[in-house]
Amino acid sequence: MVVNTPLPPRRNPGPSGGYRLLRALDRVLPEAIFRPLRAAGTLVAMAGMAEQRRHSYDYLTVALARRPTWRDVFRHFFAFEEVLMTRLRVINGQPHQSVFAPGSEDLRAWLESGTPALLGTFHVGVTELQGCQIAMKLHHPMHVVRLRVGNSHDTEKLEELFGDRLHFIWINEPAEMLLALKDAAATHGSIALQCDRPGYSARSEAFEFLGARRVFPFTIYHLAQIFQRPVLFAVGVPDGPDRARLHAIPRYEPRPGEPRAEALARARVHFQGFLQMVEEILREHPYLWFNFTPLNPVAPDSP
């Protein structure tokens, strides 16, 4: 999974030092007042984040199949802010429920089985929060591979909140990360990886997505072969203010002794199936893929 190039200074389109303020205001202000304030704050953030705004525009152009308006870009930023707010509310102690979408039976079975697995996710909706909550339901620790950005306070608070069940492996230190992955696998814990941004993946491949063959990280399936772990993919879509709907596909299971080429061919079919599901979700909820980084490039051999 990564990263031999220096990382640029990066941050999410959220506040650098305002998380505590947001959490405090949420306790005292009625939502009818607080929500317009958050919208205004989002506008200010959007105005100051030209690069993220450009990437949002590029993604929305593809997702909406038309030229996005300023309102579209704002809705994209505000959707991200609302998910951030949901996370902060969970940190504040507010309950957040999960329900399983049809087709997620394997995910539910895995949660009940206690089998260590590799959990692939995208930066879609409330997926990361759901990942944390999944960690609490597992019978073993969950190790989450993640890029540490300039304002990761909310993630660090989630790590505190979910205690000894949840551990972050920061990919900013690639050499250490590989050993951390190895150690995580040795503890019989599960490992969660974001698999939608190819810039941080050692192995990437092209798949059909949003009208083109686009490059996606494929490292998770190589890890599945190395550690002989099943792969599950899931995303969490908000379903009301305090509930998420988990969407997943049947799991990919490595077969001992299977030739690598055949195993990876099966993996490609599996990942394409997941991408098809995500595309259907994004056609319905285009603002929920938090793509404030360059959109996955079209493969050079794409027709």
């Binding site: 999974m1 990564v2 031999n4 230190e173 690639p174 050499a175 250490e176 590989l178 050993l179 992955l181 190895k182 050692a202 192995r203 490292t219 190589h222 890890l223 190395i226 550690f227 690598r260």
Partner: protein, 91 residues
Amino acid sequence: MSDPLSAHVKRLIVDTLRLDDVKPDEIRDEEPLIGSGLSLDSIDALELVVKIEKTYGIKIASAEESRAALASVASLTQFIRTRADPARLPA
């Protein structure tokens, strides 16, 4: 006369990483494993480390150890020789 451990390590590299177009005895002892030389990437390195730990019953505990051990076949062989139970090494 070739070192049995070095030959074993080369065979293990070729088999583990499925280097179909490389013969074990074509790998030079001083050839870099990562980046240049065999051009292994980080996932190859991880797979190799997992296999080495399992085969020789040793543990590579830090990034510095990993970098030093995987610098070449010679350094990897030396690392294994100093860490592994002699009973697990090829005669």
